[in-house]
C-alpha cells in the first residue's frame, strides 16, 4: 500500500470514530439549545440557528436539579475513592504475590459483577435502612464501588504486572521499604492507568441509575432524579437534561486525557 492510501485509511478511521461519538452529542446539543421546534424538525438544520439558552435555563431552574447534582458528585467521588482504596492494593497483591487461591480470587472478583442488582435491590434496601445508609450519597457510593472495584482491581493488577519487578527491587536496595518503594516507584509509573481506572469508577457511578433510584428517595443522584422528573417533561427539556448529564464525564476525561495517553518516555513531559 502506498503511504497516501495508508493516510487515507487512517483518516477514514479517525472520521468514523469521531462521528460515532460526536454526532449523538451534537444532536443532543441541538435539541437542548434549539428549543421546541428543532427537536421535532426534520431534516434537521446542519447549523444550529436560533440557538437559545432558554431550555437549558429552564432545565436548570427545575427544582432540585442542583441538589441532585451535588449528591451525584458526592457519590461518584466516594465511589472513585473506594474503588481505588480497594482496587489498588488488591491489584498489587495479584500482580506481585503468589498466594494460594490467586486464580480463583481473580475469578471471584469478576463474579461480583454477575449478581444482578435488581435481585439485590430489596435486601439491600432493607439492610441499608437498618444501617442508616438508606437515602445517603454514601450508601449509593457503596453499591457503585462494588460495581467499580472488579474493574479497578484487574486494571491495576495488569498495570503493576507491566512494571518490572527489578525496578521495585532497586528501590528496596536503595533504601525503600515495600510501601515507600510502591509510593516512589510503582505509583508514579502506574499513574496514567490508575487515572483511567478512577475515571471509569467516577463515570460509572455518575451514569448508574437503577441502584441509585432504588436506594434513594429524597436525596436522589442526578440520573435518578432526572429519570423520575423528566419522564413527564417536554422532549427538548429531556434533551437539555441529557446534555447536562454527559458534560461532567466529557470534562473529566478531557482534563486527564494527557495522563491517559502519556506513556512514559513517549509522552511529552
Amino acid at each position: 500500500m502506498t503511504p497516501v492510501w495508508r493516510r487515507g485509511l487512517l483518516w477514514c478511521g479517525v472520521a468514523v470514530l469521531c462521528a460515532w461519538t460526536l454526532v449523538p452529542i451534537y444532536l443532543l446539543a441541538l435539541g437542548a439549545f434549539g428549543g421546541r421546534e428543532i427537536v421535532s424538525q426534520w431534516p434537521k438544520p446542519f447549523l444550529p440557528l436560533g440557538l437559545s439558552l432558554d431550555t437549558v435555563g429552564a432545565f436548570l431552574a427545575i427544582d432540585g436539579v442542583w441538589r441532585a447534582t451535588w449528591v451525584s458528585v458526592q457519590a461518584a467521588a466516594m465511589c472513585m475513592v473506594l474503588a481505588l482504596l480497594l482496587g489498588v492494593p488488591a491489584g498489587y497483591a495479584l500482580a506481585r504475590f503468589r498466594f494460594a487461591g490467586a486464580g480463583s480470587y481473580r475469578l471471584l472478583i469478576l463474579m461480583t459483577r454477575a449478581f444482578p442488582v435488581a435481585i439485590l435491590a430489596l435486601p439491600l434496601t432493607v439492610s441499608f435502612i437498618n444501617l442508616g445508609l438508606y437515602d445517603t450519597p454514601f450508601g449509593v457510593a457503596l453499591l457503585h464501588a462494588v460495581l467499580a472495584v472488579p474493574f479497578a482491581t484487574l486494571v491495576c493488577a495488569s498495570l503493576f504486572q507491566g512494571i518490572p519487578a527489578e525496578l521495585e527491587e532497586a528501590a528496596w536496595v536503595f533504601g525503600c521499604s515495600r510501601f515507600t518503594g510502591f509510593l516512589r516507584v510503582v505509583l508514579p509509573l502506574a499513574l496514567p492507568g490508575i487515572a483511567a481506572a478512577s475515571i471509569f469508577a467516577f463515570v460509572l457511578s455518575w451514569n448508574e441509575v437503577f441502584a441509585a433510584s432504588v436506594l434513594t428517595v429524597r436525596h436522589r443522584t442526578l440520573t435518578a432524579y432526572l429519570l423520575s422528573v423528566l419522564s413527564e417533561s417536554p422532549l427538548h427539556v429531556q434533551f437539555a437534561g441529557g446534555l447536562i448529564l454527559i458534560v461532567p464525564s466529557v470534562l473529566f476525561i478531557f482534563l486527564v486525557r494527557r495522563r491517559l495517553f502519556a506513556m512514559w518516555g513517549i509522552g511529552n513531559r
Binding site: 518490572p164 527489578e166 527491587e169 532497586a170 528496596w172 536503595f174 533504601g175 508514579p188 509509573l189 518516555g265
Partner: protein, 352 residues
C-alpha cells in the same frame, strides 16, 4: 570494614534445591566473581545476599553483622541489576541521587555525590535527561553511578554487562575495573562470562548445580581446576580430558609413560589446549588432525588422541595449514598435568 561471610546458605524452591550449603568468605575491598552457567544458583546467592530472596537456611554476615533477617535497605549495600532498573520517571540526576535521598542526605552532599559519580562514569552531560532518551550503554552507566553514589560498603552486580553489545562490554569492563579499584568497595559480581570474571575479579567462585566447585585466582582456576566441570567451563577452548587406563602404577600415553597418581583402574588426564608442544613419536603421543582453524596468531587444531576428542592451540606464523588426516606428535608440559578421578571428576592431588 565490610567483609562478607556466607555461612552454610541453603535455598530450596519447593522440591528443587537451588543452593546446597554454601559457605564463602569475601574479604574487605575484594572483587569476587560468581561464575557459572545459567541455573547454577549464582544469581539466587546474590539475591540472598542482597535480601531480595529469603534463604532456606544459613546466615549472611556483612562487616561482622548478621543481616540474614534484615530487609535490603538495612543491609548497607548497593546493587546493579541486569536490566539496569533505572527509574524511568526520574531524570538521570534524580536516579543517581535516589539512594542518598532515601538516606536523608542533605542537598549539598547529594549534589556533590551525584556530580562525582556522574563524572566518574562520563555521564555528566546527561544529568537532565530521562532514561528513555539514553542508549543501553548510557543506562548501564546510570545504574552503576546510582550504586556508587551511595558509597556502599558492599556492591552487588548481577550480570551488569550482559545486555550490552560486545564492543561496549569490553569498554565498560575496563572502566568498571578502574572505577571499582579506586573506590575500594567490596564487590560481588555475578556473570556467566568467564573472560569477564577473569578480567575483573581478584578471586573467582565457580558455581555448578548449587555448589561452589572452586574458589581461587584466575590463574589457579584456569591452570589447576579442582573438578572436571571447572576445567571444562573455564577456558576457550575448554580443557581436554583423556580417559586413560592405569597399568602397574603407570599410565601410558603414546610414547610417554607417566606415573599414575592413583590406584584406580582408570584416570582422567586434563590438558589445556596450549600446554602441548610438537614432539617426536618417541617422547610424545599421536594426534590425528580433523580440522585446523587459523585464529590469527594461533591455530586451533581439533582431532583425536587415543580415539578421544582433543583440541590443541599452537602458535602459527604464515605457512601451509596442516592437512586433515595428518598425524602430529605432541607432548604435554609436565608441570601442567591435571589428573582427575575417572568417576567423580575431582582433581587428584599429585603434589603437596
Amino acid at each position: 570494614m565490610a567483609n562478607i561471610t556466607i555461612d552454610r546458605i541453603q535455598k530450596a524452591f519447593g522440591a528443587t534445591r537451588a543452593l546446597e550449603e554454601i559457605s564463602l568468605e569475601v574479604h574487605d575491598g575484594e572483587f569476587l566473581a560468581l561464575l557459572g552457567p545459567s541455573g547454577c544458583g549464582k544469581t539466587t546467592l546474590l539475591r540472598i545476599i542482597a535480601g531480595l530472596e529469603t534463604q532456606s537456611g544459613g546466615r549472611v554476615l556483612i562487616g561482622g553483622r548478621d543481616v540474614s533477617a534484615l530487609p535490603p535497605r538495612k543491609r548497607g549495600l548497593a546493587m546493579v541489576f541486569q536490566n539496569y532498573a533505572v527509574f524511568p520517571h526520574l531524570t538521570v540526576a534524580e536516579n543517581i541521587a535516589f539512594g542518598l535521598r532515601m538516606a536523608g542526605a542533605d542537598k549539598a552532599r547529594m549534589q556533590r555525590q551525584v556530580e562525582r559519580a556522574a563524572s566518574l562514569l562520563h555521564i555528566g552531560p546527561l544529568l537532565a535527561r530521562y532514561p528513555a532518551q539514553l542508549s543501553g550503554g548510557q543506562r548501564q552507566r546510570v545504574a552503576v553511578a546510582r550504586a556508587l553514589a551511595v558509597e556502599p560498603a558492599v556492591l552487588l552486580m548481577d550480570e551488569p554487562l550482559s545486555n550490552l553489545d560486545a564492543l561496549l562490554r569490553l569498554e565498560m569492563r575496563a572502566e568498571l575495573k578502574a572505577v571499582l579499584a579506586a573506590s575500594g568497595t567490596t564487590t560481588i559480581y555475578v556473570t556467566h562470562d568467564q573472560t569477564e570474571a577473569m578480567g575483573l575479579a581478584d578471586r573467582i567462585a565457580v558455581m555448578h548445580g548449587g555448589v561452589i566447585e572452586q574458589i581461587g585466582g584466575a590463574s589457579d582456576i584456569y591452570h589447576r581446576p579442582r573438578t572436571r566441570f571447572v576445567g571444562g567451563f573455564v577456558g576457550s577452548p575448554p580443557m581436554n580430558f583423556l580417559r586413560l587406563p592405569v597399568r602397574g602404577g603407570q599410565v601410558a600415553l603414546g610414547g610417554l609413560t607417566l606415573p599414575a597418581p592413583a590406584t584406580a583402574a582408570e584416570v582422567v588426564l586434563g590438558l589445556r589446549a596450549e600446554d602441548l608442544q610438537p614432539a617426536t613419536p618417541q617422547d610424545g603421543f599421536a594426534f590425528e588432525l580433523r580440522v585446523a582453524e587459523p585464529l590469527g596468531s594461533h591455530l586451533l587444531l581439533t582431532g583425536t588422541t587415543e580415539g578421544q576428542l582433543m583440541r590443541v592451540v599452537v602458535p602459527y606464523a604464515d605457512g601451509a595449514l596442516p592437512q586433515p588426516g595428518q598425524v602430529l606428535h605432541l607432548r604435554p608440559n609436565l608441570d601442567r598435568l591435571n589428573w582427575m578421578d575417572a568417576t567423580s571428576g575431582v582433581a587428584l592431588e599429585t603434589r603437596a
